[in-house]
Amino acid sequence: MPEDKHILPPELFKDRGSLHPINHMKDSIMDLLISFGFEIVDGPEIETEEFNFDMLNIKKSHPARQMHDTFYVENKSNLLRTHTSPVQIRGMLEKKPPLAFISGGKVYRKDDDATHLPMFHQVEGIYVDEHVSFAQLKDLIYKIIYSLFGEEVELRFRPSYFPFTEPSAEVDILSKEGKWLEILGCGIVNPVVLENCSIDSNNFSGLAFGLGIERIAMLKHGVTDIREFYKSNLDFLRQFK
């Protein structure tokens, strides 16, 4: 190199890549939940009807089980999981309470439009112990939402319906524009689900929650069209580093 102090080459900008914003969001949420004490469990994306529906108290007649909502494979012998809950079922069958699991990953539903995709991502959690209550579930949900959106965010709980939780709730946050936005679903684990996993529902109760990653990523990053995440456009991906 020349001795002249001005003869310095230009700054070398090495292009760093970026994690996919959905994976980054999923990892952030999983890390947050790990910090609360949850253990990660993993499971397959191809599931049986038993684990995806029956064990979760989703009756044979439930619309979600119809061919127009769920992808079935290999002559209906299996299906593409419609949520990550079956992973928790597998976890509950293996371990005894107290237990606290989270599972995250791809899930599939037969949708394809501007706001829905046939593949999307979820993170779900379950905590089973003695005397777990809805009031405790609220505490956990507040902690999750405050960590994601800041403690100044306003949130509300609405009664809802999921076959695997009772009572069930959906949680909304108030946007800067004054609109309530649905963020997650949660509830007290239906005793039928605990019994299906050989957990005595007289002695144990549980809470469960699930978040759609795309929805949270869209809110956090200001992405308005869900399809942008899956075009693999470098101009899009380069923004997330």
């Binding site: 090495k14 992808f71 002559n75 299996n78 405790q136 505490d139 109760s205 470098l234």
Partner: protein
């Protein structure tokens, strides 16, 4: 479902405002939007009992004093003689028929019936069908009206596999296949039960004698049929969610009352069949359990008071569930009722303390690989697994979204090739991508593999060191040898022969099972720092780029940084990117040569040559005024002075 505020509030003694009713409905879990004086309700699927004025009022009774002003015909009725047989009693355990003849079809409607059409802006059909529709709105129980003069013969209810063309009263011909619950008249389908009636027996504007059918159908027999036959009906929506199995007689008596307000009834007769008893569900009173589930501490008196307002009956030590609440079976169901009445937001938080669990090995190898790839300019992508080509072992989707997405991918690389071509079409000349994903195949059972796929093509990087280097096998091998010397990656050239592209750059790719990656990757020290805040996305432009290169010869080296900063920090909405692509110090000539690439793109329209020239003129004019710097080949430098 649309419900008029006025139709609710006329039964509420306190006369709450529309906003107050809205707040109450939200607390009870009934999502809705307000359009003028109409609630556009969206009920959860377990609350079929709320799909009516009376259903909502039953829930609102928690907060208000409800006074239903709906008279019913209470006199004794003659028994209808009808040739009816039920061959599927499990599916239709309760059914009632009413036959009624009026003197004259009314020309206009009165009272609630009239308000129903006016407030909701609905079109009228014919007298009896209009009453049937109104009754469904008021009570939640669908009824079907046949023109009695077209109903001669034996009427049969049956779940049958009869394949038959059936013409609905909406003139739609459907081909009935597989099992369907139907009504048959003289062995011909006249009604797809719980979904839609047939044309041949439907009422018209002249119908004076009607046969009204009012039934309970098991939801399992109805679910899926409206989608299968593409028939959207109010009846199917309600039957799918479950109607009150004990209301049929009352609903027909209410129908008589409404008819009598509009026309003289010449004669009428009714029959009710109860093929199966429907015993009430009884749940033991257990306030301790309720308090435990919700995390509250209310008294038994308070608890029972809440339930009484919702229509539950307290009998000895049991809570008797009303017949319209088919969603209540357990203590947890009752706990939800209590929580709704208190209001989820009014339940105090109780501290949760989850015991710590171990997560030692959570995807460490996978994450190290990801960070290593990020450090070297690779971008992570995610692709859906649906593909068109049946590769050996590929799992077939029974019900794909379309025939081009009929199989699950058995490799990740093909998806990355598509991603690469997509970016090449957008003029990208340095593309480095990776994806980590499960892939599934079938060989005497489902096989799951977690794979890493990497692909690259074009320039190694967009900086003066890497700009002229092309991605090839050597680049990949050297890169990975650095961190995984013991691992043999099979980087290979992917042929462009069958790809639709004019780009000639070599494509290099590799796919490997994650579990084959040795643990030595764990010692890799990543450099990349992930963003600590969430980046706000700027919408991207799909319009084409235009690029310009600008090279300088520098004799006064003290001006190097000045020049570099000026160009790299130059701000213009149309200038998308700028970087140094060339740098050379010529010691003999005591000269530095530096080249900048500027990339222009508009978000509004295809960028014009004149727009670029204007920006370039500003840059050139400024840099031309810096002593000791010149642009070789610039003929008219004076023009920029």
């Amino acid at each position: 479902m649309k419900i008029a505020y006025s139709h609710l509030v006329k039964h509420i003694a306190e006369c709450p405002s529309i906003e107050q009713v809205s707040d109450s409905l939200f607390q009870l879990g009934h999502e809705h939007e307000i359009d003028g004086n109409i609630f556009d309700m969206e009920f959860t699927p377990n609350r079929g009992d709320c799909l009516s004025i009376n259903g909502l009022l039953r829930d609102l009774a928690t907060f208000y004093t409800i006074k239903l002003n709906q008279d019913i015909y209470n006199e004794k009725l003659d028994q209808l003689e009808i040739d009816f047989e039920n061959l599927s009693e499990d599916i239709c355990p309760q059914i009632s028929f009413l036959k009624l003849e009026i003197e004259q079809v009314p020309e206009s409607y009165k009272g609630s019936l009239n308000n129903y059409f006016i407030e909701l802006g609905l079109n009228k059909n014919n007298f009896f069908t209009d009453i049937s529709n109104y009754l469904s709105y008021e009570t939640g129980q669908p009824t079907h009206c046949y023109d009695a003069n077209r109903m001669e013969g034996k009427l049969l209810f049956q779940e049958t596999s009869k394949n038959e063309i059936f013409e609905t009263l909406l003139d739609k011909k459907i081909n009935l296949t597989n099992k369907n619950a139907v009504f048959l008249l003289n062995n011909k389908v006249i009604n797809l039960a719980g979904i839609v009636g047939g044309k041949d027996t439907s009422c018209s504007a002249n119908t004076k004698t009607v046969l009204v059918e009012c039934a309970f159908f098991q939801p399992e027999a109805i679910i899926g049929k409206s989608i299968k036959y593409d028939i959207q009906s109010d009846a199917s929506h309600k039957f799918e969610r479950g109607v009150d199995p004990k209301c049929q007689d009352m609903v027909l008596r209410r129908l008589i009352n409404i008819v009598s307000q509009h026309a003289n009834i010449k004669n009428m007769s009714m029959i009710s069949y109860n093929f199966k008893d429907n015993p009430s569900i009884k749940i033991p009173i257990n306030i301790q359990k309720i308090n435990e589930i919700v995390g509250i501490n209310i008294s038994e008196k308070e608890y029972l008071n809440y339930l009484s307002k919702l229509g539950f009956i307290i009998e000895n030590n049991f809570i008797v569930v009303p017949s319209f609440r088919n969603d209540i079976k357990t203590q947890n169901d009752l706990a939800e009722e209590v929580a709704r009445v208190i209001g989820y937001d009014n339940i105090n938080i109780s501290n949760i303390n989850i015991p710590r669990n171990k997560n030692e090995d959570y995807k460490n190898i996978e994450n190290k690989l990801r960070y290593f790839l990020l450090d070297n300019g690779f971008y992570e992508v995610i692709n859906a697994p649906f593909v068109s080509l049946p590769i050996k072992g590929a799992i077939k989707v029974d019900n794909p979204l379309d025939s081009n997405r009929e199989f699950l991918r058995t490799n990740v690389t093909n998806s990355l090739i598509d991603n690469l071509l997509y970016n090449e079409r957008r003029q990208k000349d340095s593309i480095k991508l990776f994806e980590i994903s499960d892939v599934y195949s079938f060989d005497d059972g489902v096989i799951r593999n977690r794979k890493l796929s990497i692909i690259g093509s074009g320039r190694v990087g967009l900086n003066f060191e890497d700009f002229s280097k092309k991605i090839n096998k050597k680049y990949f091998n050297e890169l990975f040898y650095e961190i995984l010397p013991s691992q043999k990656f099979s980087f290979h050239t992917i042929s462009r022969d069958k790809l639709i592209t004019k780009v000639k750059n070599e494509i290099i790719g590799c796919e490997i099972n994650i579990d084959e990656i040795p643990s030595e990757i764990l010692s890799y020290k990543e450099q990349v720092k992930l963003p600590s805040t969430f980046i706000q996305y700027t919408p991207i432009s799909e319009l084409p780029y235009s690029k310009r290169d600008l090279s300088f010869s520098i004799q006064d080296f003290s001006k190097c940084k000045l020049l570099e900063r000026y160009i790299l920090e130059f701000q213009n909405d149309l200038l998308k990117e700028a970087f140094v692509f060339d740098y050379f110090y010529n010691e003999k000539k005591a000269e530095i040569k530096i080249g900048f690439r500027l990339i222009f793109q508009s978000t509004e329209s295809t960028i014009k040559e004149s727009q670029i020239t204007n920006i370039m003129d500003v840059i050139i004019k400024h840099t031309n005024n810096i002593e000791g710097i010149n642009i070789p080949g610039l003929k008219y430098s004076r023009d920029y002075n």
